[in-house]
């Protein structure tokens, strides 16, 4: 009986052992299966390079290991804090959060971190057990696994716990790899960014350098252009100064020369007056007189060239001037002239000297354009311009003179500059020729135009305001008797030979002539004459008196003394504004030197009433 009982006990003990071992065996087999499937887990971990992906894979895998009520993974932050980062099922998020809070509060959490193994503690609230397991590698803590087990005092068997630890270790290494990978990637990215930044900086720097080089090149070019321009300006300045000094020199010579011519002309004309026109030498004297007039015109041109100035306009017959200019300029050259000057060409109100100077210059220009000879055509036309004409001139009658050559022509790009002062394409040119043509035309209220074809020739056309119907007074030799007058005349001139001839002419014509050398003397003479009650009927004042009172000041004094005095200004400088506008300076008339006897007599006759 006893034996039997012992045997039964023995049998039941053995049965119990067998059942335990079977169960344990089952458990081990299941764990082995589970570990076998770890390759899948590893693949998941490797596939997902993100922390979240690793959390998810870990939770899924652990879910197969043990029937947890809920589980989650806390991420270990850089500041040593922990955040619930993943949760399975998601519905247990709040519950787990509460569990975590209480585990942190009562120190279990810190303990679990320290122990680095599975810690199972009864939950503070609720009927479950909390499992905490640090997710850590040898180098550091990567997170914390937290899970709920059903029941207050639940225990997980050792093999399962060890499997759990092993899975979490794998997970920890994956998390570490992931973090390292991220750091590496960030490093390489920042490195790449730095490289790109540097490359961009270098590129910018290069672009800037290139731009700077370009700018430098441009400013260099500008500078060299400016230098060239400056050089040109300097050259022009030198040229202008040369011309100016030449002009002053020429002006000085012309003035003196003019005075001499005045004497010659006055003497010639005086001589001619004293003989009969039929006299044998009368014609010789006339020729001499004409040549002297031409010489005088030449000095006028010199003076115009030197000073420019207001034209002294008188009615001029263009035909004579054109003919004279053409023969004068082209004489001796290989260029022939063809003049197309129809009858009835209108006369112009012009300064004879300047008018002929303009023509001279155009003809010179045409001749120089044809160094191998050719033909220059000068055409005269009457033209009445309406308003809004192409020449932008006021409406009215104009004389159009066209000078056409068959020369080399002017390149189109130069056309706009040919009237610029000092612009020249000729090695010996002054650059003043066409410029003075332009200024003369302008001063006369006209204009000058150009059209040219390279290799075919150039056409210049001048428009000058015309005076239809008027004819200039001919240089008819009038009877000396017609020019006779009477009265006291005072003539002031610094040149004694002019004073002498003038006095002689005046006395010959019946005047009572007196002379003085400067303005001061003139005023004194005037006063003296008034005192003795023999006032002067007319006073002729030379404009320029070197070293003494000139005509202008003298006139002002005399005008003060006698507002009704008859004052005539005389000057070689026909371009002087006082000559052109003598009325404005208190004069009653003007005589241009050189004057001939006739001119002088005529002027006096005009101003002194016969009755006197």
């Amino acid at each position: 009986m006893n034996t039997a009982k012992v045997e039964i006990d023995h049998v039941s003990y053995l049965e119990e052992r067998v059942s335990y071992l079977e169960e344990a065996n089952c458990n081990y087999a299941a764990l082995l299966d589970m570990l076998t499937s770890c390759s899948d887990f590893q693949a998941d971990l490797n596939r997902d390079k993100s922390l979240e992906g690793i959390y998810r894979a870990t939770l899924v895998h652990l879910g197969r290991l043990f029937p947890f009520q809920g589980m989650g993974i806390l991420e270990s932050k850089d500041d040593n804090s922990f955040d619930l980062a993943a949760c399975e099922p998601t519905s247990c998020w709040n519950g787990l959060s509460n569990d975590i809070d209480s585990a942190i509060m009562n120190g279990t959490f810190a303990w679990a971190l320290k122990r680095n193994q599975a810690i199972t503690v009864p939950a503070v609230e609720g009927n479950h057990t909390l499992l905490l397991h640090a997710i850590a590698t040898q180098t550091g803590i990567r997170g914390m696994f937290i899970a709920r087990l059903a029941g207050k005092n639940r225990l997980i068997d050792a093999p399962t716990i060890n499997t759990l630890s092993s899975i979490l270790l794998t997970s920890a290494y994956s998390l570490e790899n992931c973090a390292l990978y991220t750091i590496l990637r960030e490093h390489s990215q920042s490195l790449e960014e730095k490289v790109q930044e540097r490359t961009a900086e270098l590129l910018t720097a290069r672009n800037m350098a290139e731009a700077a080089a370009l700018e430098l090149q441009i400013s260099n070019e500008q500078l060299s252009n400016e230098i060239a321009e400056r050089k040109r300006a300097e050259d022009e300045l030198i040229k202008a100064q040369k011309l100016e000094s030449l002009g002053v020199f020429a002006g000085g010579i012309a003035h003196d020369f003019n005075n001499i011519l005045t004497s010659i002309l006055a003497n010639l004309s005086f001589a001619r007056m004293q003989i009969s026109p039929s006299h044998l030498i009368a014609r010789r004297l006339e020729e001499c007189e004409k040549a002297t007039v031409r010489a005088s015109e030449l000095t006028q041109q010199l003076l115009t060239f030197a000073r420019g100035g207001e034209p002294v306009k008188k009615l001029i017959d263009p035909v004579a001037v054109i003919k004279e200019a053409a023969s004068f300029v082209l004489r001796g050259s290989t260029v022939r002239s063809r003049l197309d000057l129809p009858d009835g060409l209108w006369c112009v109100e012009a300064d004879g000297g300047q008018f002929s100077q303009a023509l001279h210059n155009l003809l010179i220009n045409a001749a120089q354009a044809m160094p191998d000879g050719g033909e220059v055509t000068v055409r005269g036309e009457n033209e009445t311009l309406g308003t809004d004409n192409l020449h932008r001139l006021p409406a009215g009658p104009y004389l159009k003179i066209t000078v056409e050559d068959s020369g080399c022509g002017i390149p189109e790009e130069n056309l706009s500059r040919i009237f610029d002062p000092y612009y020249t394409t000729k090695s010996q040119g002054s650059g003043l020729g066409l410029a003075s043509v332009y200024s003369i035309a302008k001063r006369h209220g006209g204009t000058v135009g150009i059209s040219s074809k390279l290799g075919e020739g150039s056409i210049f056309d001048i428009h000058l305001p015309a005076s239809p119907g008027n004819q200039p007074a001919g240089v008819a030799v009038k009877e000396a008797t017609e020019l006779r007058g009477a009265g006291r005349i005072l003539i002031m001139d610094d040149e004694d030979f002019i004073r002498e001839i003038a006095t002689e002419i005046l006395q010959y014509m019946g005047y009572d002539a007196e002379s003085c050398a400067d303005g001061k003397e003139a005023v004194e003479c005037f006063q003296k004459a008034r005192e003795i009650d023999k006032p002067f009927a007319c006073i002729i004042l030379d404009l320029t008196v070197p070293g003494g009172m000139g005509g202008k000041e003298a006139a002002a004094r005399l005008r003060e003394l006698d507002p009704d005095a008859v004052l005539i200004v005389s000057s070689g400088y026909s371009n002087d504004p006082i000559i052109a506008n003598y009325q404005n300076y208190g004069f009653n008339g003007a005589i241009r030197k050189p004057f001939d006897a006739d001119t002088l007599a005529r002027e006096l006759a005009k101003l002194i009433p016969k009755s006197l």
């Binding site: 320290k114 680095n116 040898q138 225990l155």
Partner: protein, 304 residues
Amino acid sequence: MGSYACEFSERPEMATNDTLNKKMMERLINETDSVYSLPLIYERLTEVINHPRSSITDITRIISEDQGLTARLLKLANSPMFGFFSKIDTIDKAATIIGTQQLQALALAVSVMEIFTGIPEELVNMKSFWQHSIACGIIARTLAIYHRDINAERVFAAGILHDVGRLVMFTTIPEIVKEMIVESREEESLLYWIEENRFGFTHANVGGRLLANWNIPESIAEPVYCHHSPVEAKKFPLETSFIHMADIICKALGIGSNGEQFVPPLEPSTWERMGIPAGSLVEIVRYAEPQLEETLAILGKNAS
């Protein structure tokens, strides 16, 4: 507990006196086994811990049967070694806080220490012996914790038990041991070299074999078996390295005495395996030192 076979690789030089040496080893183990046996409580604990359906209550019930063990485990759990923030006053709390496997390892260490009593004082001062063993256990455990090993208590147990083979020799062949100690002293040779020369095996091999015989997990038995020849550890080289290193540190620091006069040489590969910076060693020792005294007081009392 399932059938558990422990196969250790034999050293090449052992081949010469192969049979003789095997017989000697068998004799030592058998004699020890007949006198000392692991308390049943350890086996039962192992079973409960591994059982999927067991609860903490089951564990508590088993441990509570041994009042002495219970008291020591609780004292250990509250010692600076663990440094838990509040008092652990029950075994079930110790089980949850420290962990069942960890508790099991501690129970093993405590149990084995209780077995070996009555060893002649002339051979070895037991207090001094356990002092060395416990210090080795603590330092090995600290190395394991530093390494973030999951079950540092197992390393702790292995450390405490690493010289259990010496105890076997002291009890079974005290005269020979005496001779060998003298020889070691006279020849200024390491004791385990003399053992090696004499038997073809060392006390480490004997200890490991005994633990394996007692079905102690291989993670403890192998480190004990190989703690003087760590390159031979095939399954738990890391744990073996901890024991090897801790033994040398304890000898170098002169903590306790195990009969060995000299500091054993360091196997460089163990150092590499642990991957602990040399500078950290001081830190580790400094961390372990304060735990020594109290742990000794808890465990050493019954051993003396």
